[in-house]
């Protein structure tokens, strides 16, 4: 019962978009973008009940997604463009002067699909809490989804929001953590370990769903649907999405050094050779 019968063709194409965008402007964040392609595909093409054609900055009664780790704009923009929020060709303007596709998501530039700026880490969950509680006031049963980096969970504001959501039972919220154990300076375990993250969320009164194969589209769709089925039961839901940074390209996969580094010409050629052009490049 997939909504998009060719959904499995998206990940390879989105990965091509990501490496081409970052290569073209010689800046941006390919690592976390490549690692979360299956999440974005599953969310935007399967889970999210939202109308890309009728986007309004203020909610009109639909599911809302908030990207908290704003640096992974390549995957965010590519997925939104391919879902129909804006023209595919606009991906070519990524990070260029005058573009609506800012380095980190902005509202100021009017890109359809974006409702809050992010980039300075740790803020998205709080914003989602305002939306989630606003939805309850509006008697709107749609859900709020967020995505966070695991490194981002080192920010204190995240834990303010985690405490609040659990204590107040904000149960129309699904917060996903890109659990790739990688941040700019190295492994999360080495820089500042999160310890037992599942136990931490549970101690804060959250329900936790683990998706062990975060780069397997079927597994991600199944896991997110399970998370969705657990909403409305008095607790917020956390998804621990186990991914590999740089997934899909052999020389990038699992290497934290690709957090914010563009590919050179030779690397781009090698990368594209590993990624079939399934739906047509932008």
């Amino acid at each position: 019962m997939k909504k998009y019968k060719n959904i499995e063709q998206y990940p390879s194409q989105i990965r091509r978009d990501i490496v081409r965008m970052v290569h073209d402007v010689q800046s941006g964040h390919p690592g976390g973008s490549l690692g979360t392609v299956e999440f974005f595909t599953a969310l935007f093409f399967e889970l999210l009940e939202a109308d890309p054609q009728q986007f309004k900055i203020n909610d009109k009664g639909e599911d809302i997604f908030i990207l908290s780790n704003g640096h992974i704009t390549p995957v965010y923009y590519s997925t939104m463009a391919r879902r129909g929020y804006f023209k595919l060709q606009e991906l070519a303007t990524f990070r260029r002067l005058g573009s609506r596709l800012q380095g980190h998501p902005s509202v100021h530039d009017g890109l359809p699909g974006v409702r809050i700026a992010s980039g300075s880490l740790g803020q998205g969950l709080s914003v989602a809490l305002g939306i989630a509680q606003g939805k309850k006031l509006n008697n709107d049963s749609h859900l709020v989804y967020t995505l966070h980096g695991d490194g981002e969970l080192q920010e204190g504001q995240i834990w303010e929001a985690v405490l609040y959501a659990g204590a107040k039972g904000v149960d129309n919220l699904i917060a996903t953590v890109d659990y790739n154990n990688a941040q700019i300076d190295g492994k999360v375990d080495d820089v500042l370990s999160l310890g037992n993250l599942k136990a931490k969320f549970e101690a804060f009164n959250w329900t936790v769903v683990e998706i062990k194969e975060g780069n397997n589209l079927e597994a991600v769709i199944k896991g997110l649907n399970e998370a969705k089925s657990l909403t409305g039961k008095g607790k917020p839901v956390a998804v621990l999405l186990h991914t590999l940074m740089g997934y899909g390209i052999d020389f990038m996969q699992g290497d934290y050094r690709w957090h914010g580094k563009p590919l050179n010409d030779e690397q781009l050629t090698k990368a594209l050779a590993q990624l079939p052009e399934t739906l047509g490049d932008y």
Partner: protein, 317 residues
């Protein structure tokens, strides 16, 4: 000079709280957030009358700011309130990204601003907030002078679509402005017309400025006295017309002289009509414990300080 009188001293924070309760009754989109200081910021009545629209987030100012930004996406008009220090510097990055840059319709309500918070001391005395907030593109910055004006301003900012930093305080001060005033954002209020010197005052300094003006007028010095309740956008027309008329300017504020109203006016006049200016403000210092009155006197933020500043600037004319 027109005689200004008052029947009662009242705190500006109560003007905020009373207007917010009123707003709750007339506008169902208004939601209120605070961080464990419900009574101090006078949100108790709103909380009682509209419990479903009242959110005490606990001691989590950063989370509160993010939540407020989120509420706007659902069409709400969030009024988020705590002490000025904790809703400015402490959460500057959150305000910058989630409210100002994201162009969200949040009312950032900053109570207990300035030296007059008193005995709590410098940790609680926000003297840099106006500067920080006016530097954010698109942020409106308002600092009313008494209970009635704070009440009117609270109602006005609910009607305005966009981010507002709204600053008020704890002490009871003369309530002299009209009960039925219409508050116009960005429109200065002329309290007295004169030719010799311009006094631009904001917030708690407006009343002492009236007292100083009365003394000066008695000495034959004609004072153009203007209440600048909106720091940003600055009423440039009012400032320019007054400076052209008098050729001497005194600015008065409960704030660091760096970044405040005085600096805004100096910057504007330097580019448009260079005019000698004296600053009644805290001179790049932190405050300290004491009563509000003692502190305002010690740091020269009183009628005497304003009087002296006028004498000083007149000597430069």
């Amino acid at each position: 000079m027109k005689k200004y009188t008052y029947t009662e001293k009242k705190d500006t924070r109560s003007g905020f709280g009373d207007a917010l309760t009123q707003l709750g009754n007339i506008n169902e989109n208004v939601v209120a957030l605070t961080a464990d200081v419900t009574g101090s910021v006078k949100m108790g009545d709103f909380a009682k009358q509209h419990p479903d629209r009242f959110f005490n987030v606990g001691i989590q100012e950063a989370n509160m700011i993010g939540m407020a930004a989120g509420f706007t996406i659902e069409g709400k008009i969030p009024f988020a309130a705590t002490f000025a220090e904790f809703i400015s510097g402490r959460v500057y990055d959150q305000i910058r990204q989630a409210i100002a840059y994201s162009e969200k319709n949040v009312k950032i309500c900053a109570s207990h601003a300035g030296l007059t918070v008193g005995e709590d001391g410098a940790t609680h005395q926000a003297l840099e907030d106006l500067g920080m907030m006016k530097m954010l593109p698109g942020m409106v910055v308002i600092n009313p002078c008494d209970y009635n004006q704070t009440k009117a301003a609270t109602l006005a900012i609910a009607e305005y679509e966009g981010p507002v930093y709204f600053r008020f305080g704890r002490p009871k001060v003369p309530n002299f402005t009209p009960d039925d005033q219409k508050f116009e954002i960005g429109k200065a209020v002329v309290l007295n017309e004169g030719d010799d010197v311009s006094i631009f005052a904001t917030g708690h300094l407006v009343w002492p400025a009236i007292k100083a003006a009365e003394r000066l007028e008695n000495e034959g010095i004609s004072v153009d006295l203007i209440n600048i309740h909106t720091i940003k956008p600055l009423d440039e027309t009012a400032v320019l017309n007054s400076a052209k008329k008098t050729g001497a300017v005194v600015t008065c504020e409960e704030h660091n002289r760096l970044g405040g109203l005085g600096e805004s006016i100096a910057g504007f006049l330097a580019a448009n009509h260079p005019t000698p200016q004296s600053f009644v403000a805290v001179n790049d210092q932190f405050g300290e414990s004491g009563t509000g009155d003692e502190l305002m006197q010690k740091y020269g933020l009183d009628a005497e300080g304003i009087y002296k500043a006028v004498k000083e600037v007149l000597a430069k004319k």
